[in-house]
């Protein structure tokens, strides 16, 4: 009887009592460590439980032997305890309790170990997440477009440059765009890039290929119908066992280098041409002075004045080229001050009035009667306004009209420079602010380096966070509109803007919490 009860107790109760913490330890470890670690944690729990079971089995057998001894003694009818041949059951019980204790102790140690391991894993995970975040930010800020696919061909990550170049999230139908906006959404790359079948093929082939060949380059036009050629490098990412983890693709603009060089050459040639013109005058007159072609003092004086004017012109040109280079490269210190935009415009008018008068042009200033508070570098802004007005003078025939208007608008201050000159063809309007660009039809109307408006845009938009726009009609005239942030002491720090940009990573796979 005793044997039955005890046996049952040993068979059921002890395993239940002992196994519960083991299983809970395993399960808890698994649950706490999160899905990524679940598999290893479950395995770990299973090992714990297995060890426990094995230990129990050993003990179980010992108990069974022990109780068999009792059973053998009992049939005599007495319930007195007798010694058994191996030293006696009663003597063995404390020993068993101690062993059970030891087992518990061992479980406790393992439990503590598991908890400390869990903390360690969590720490590692935290470090890894920070690392991933850093890498994501670095990739996001790269100027080279990068996209990352997982092993099943789903889009995992792309950077800002890729977003600009590729139809990621934009230009897609609402469903795909919607899917992409949700962090962690798994979207088939083939679906996202359906407009770029060559890219889809490249990505698929890179995934399928054997390890040794899992790096491919293909040249393709992006967007597909354009003539901007990109070299796309795709590489499979594999772990140590050659298991596919994903595909990384980078995009290299093949035309940009060539375009940049051509533009540079064009710029140098255009600047050189512009410099040669006043030099030609200086050279000619100086040689004639040497040759004694101008003996009359009056004529000599006139020639010297012509030389002087050409030297001034040369200086202005060199300065404008240097100015652009220095402002764009950030060498020039920007000195902002709280000023009235009307004052900046008035100072510019003083410079340009004689030039307009020379062409019998009417210069009309319709300046706002209100104080127009802006926080600008008065010299740079003056340069921008001067460039706009002198362009108006240059590209407006004699007797034309140039009108300057200023006014406050909701949160901006507006300056308009309008003329009734030769105008700009519609197709040239988007290009007029590009460096070196000159409207082909108007090239003959006046000389220039194609730098004036590029500098204006840089000063208005990049230095002062303003906006510039142009409207024009051939033969009717042109109107440039400048909008500047209204108010004094605006802290439009560009550093802060950069920070915001850096933080807007486009990760689909987020940190595992």
């Amino acid at each position: 009887m005793l044997s039955g009860k005890l046996g049952a107790a040993i068979d059921r109760r002890i395993p239940l009592v002992v196994l519960t913490p083991v299983a809970v330890a395993g399960a808890l470890t698994g649950a706490l460590l999160g899905p990524l670690w679940a598999v290893s944690a479950v395995a770990y729990g299973a090992v714990l439980a297995g060890t426990g079971l094995w230990l129990l089995r050993v003990q179980d057998r010992r108990f069974a032997t022990l109780l068999d001894g009792y059973a053998e003694a009992e049939p005599a009818g007495g319930c007195g305890v007798r010694s058994v041949s191996d030293g006696g059951a009663m003597a063995l019980l404390p020993e068993t309790a101690a062993r059970v204790n030891a087992i518990f102790e061992s479980f406790r140690r393992q439990w503590e170990q598991a908890v400390s391991q869990k903390t360690e894993v969590e720490l590692l995970l935290n470090v890894r997440n920070k690392h991933v975040r850093r890498l994501e930010t670095v990739i996001d800020l790269l100027s080279v477009p990068v996209i990352v696919l997982d092993g099943t061909g789903h889009l995992m990550f792309w950077n800002g440059a890729a977003e600009k170049l590729l139809p990621v999230g934009e230009g897609q139908d609402a469903d795909v765009a919607g899917l992409l906006r949700f962090a962690g959404a798994q979207t088939d790359a083939a679906m996202v890039f359906s407009t770029l079948p060559e890219l889809v093929r490249l990505l698929a082939e890179t995934r399928m290929r054997e390890c040794a060949e899992r790096r491919r380059s293909v040249e393709m036009a992006i967007p597909p119908d354009s003539d901007t050629l990109y070299r796309v490098d795709a590489a499979a990412v594999v772990d140590r066992d050659g298991e596919l983890l994903g595909v990384v693709a980078t995009f290299h603009d093949l035309d940009s280098v060539r375009r940049e060089r051509a533009q540079h050459a064009e710029f140098v040639s255009s600047v050189a041409h512009e410099l040669k013109t006043p030099m030609a005058g200086i050279k000619a007159f100086v040689e004639m002075l040497i040759d004694g072609d101008c003996e009359d003092p009056e004529e000599q004086r006139e020639v010297l004045q012509l030389i002087d004017a050409q030297v001034d012109r040369l200086t202005r040109m060199v300065n404008s080229v240097l100015n652009l280079a220095r402002i764009e490269s950030g060498v020039i210190e920007i000195k902002r001050a709280d000023v009235d935009l009307n004052d900046v415009v008035r100072k510019t008018l003083e410079i340009v009035e004689p030039v307009a008068a020379e062409k019998q042009q009417t210069l009309i200033a319709e300046l706002s009667h209100l104080y127009l508070p802006v926080h600008v570098d008065p010299d740079l802004m003056g340069q921008a306004v001067l460039n706009l007005v002198s362009n108006a003078v240059k590209y407006t025939p004699e007797g034309g009209e140039i009108r300057l208007r200023t006014r406050p608008d909701e949160s901006t201050v507006v300056l308009e420079v309008a003329d009734n000159g030769i105008g700009i063809p519609q197709e040239s309007l988007p290009l007029v602010f590009d460096r070196f660009y000159r409207v082909p039809q108007n090239e003959r109307a006046a000389s220039g380096t194609g730098l004036g408006l590029a500098l204006v845009r840089y000063i208005v938009e990049d230095v002062h966070q303003g906006e510039i726009d142009v409207r024009s009609r051939v033969g009717e005239g042109t109107c440039f509109t400048v909008q500047l942030p209204l108010g004094h002491r605006r802290n439009g720090s560009r550093h802060r803007d950069a920070g915001v940009h850096a933080a807007s990573g486009r990760a689909l796979v987020h940190e595992t919490r």
Binding site: S269, H273, K276, T277, M279, A280, G281, I282, K283, A284, F285, E287, M288, D291, D293, C294, E299, V303, L306, A309, Q310, E443, R444, A445
Partner: protein
């Protein structure tokens, strides 16, 4: 007296060339673009035309073409005076537009005068 027509949109260039040629005894006509130059040439054909390349309304090459179209100006020798030295193929331009000489800016008025003398085939002694 021999006449030279000078076309350039930079007034001080025409001024310098005209001054040099007048000192050498030439009669000089000036124009600020190809169109004005053509009109002058048709009205009273000069012995030599000196023209800039890039000009408003009608450029130097268009002027060459236009001159060839008219009986009275067809045989007038043309000198191209241009800042586009390295960008153009001199031989090709000379052949295609029947240009007799090309002088690159900045230029020597002395050399220009020699070229004009050569083209006219005689030396006019300065007074």
């Amino acid at each position: 007296m021999r006449t030279v027509l000078v076309c350039d949109d930079e007034l001080y260039i025409t001024r310098a060339v005209a001054m040099k040629l007048r000192k050498a005894g030439y009669d000089v006509l000036t124009a600020a673009d190809g169109q004005a130059g053509l009109e002058l040439a048709l009205a009273s054909p000069p012995d030599v035309v000196i023209t800039d390349y890039q000009m408003p309304r009608m450029d130097g090459l268009e002027l060459c073409v236009a001159l060839k179209k008219h009986e009275q100006t067809r045989d007038i020798p043309v000198v191209l005076l241009t800042a586009k030295g390295y960008e153009v193929d001199e031989q090709d331009l000379k052949e295609r537009f029947a240009i007799q000489a090309m002088i690159v800016k900045p230029f020597s008025p002395r050399e220009l005068l020699k070229t004009v003398h050569r083209l006219i085939g005689e030396t006019v002694v300065a007074d």
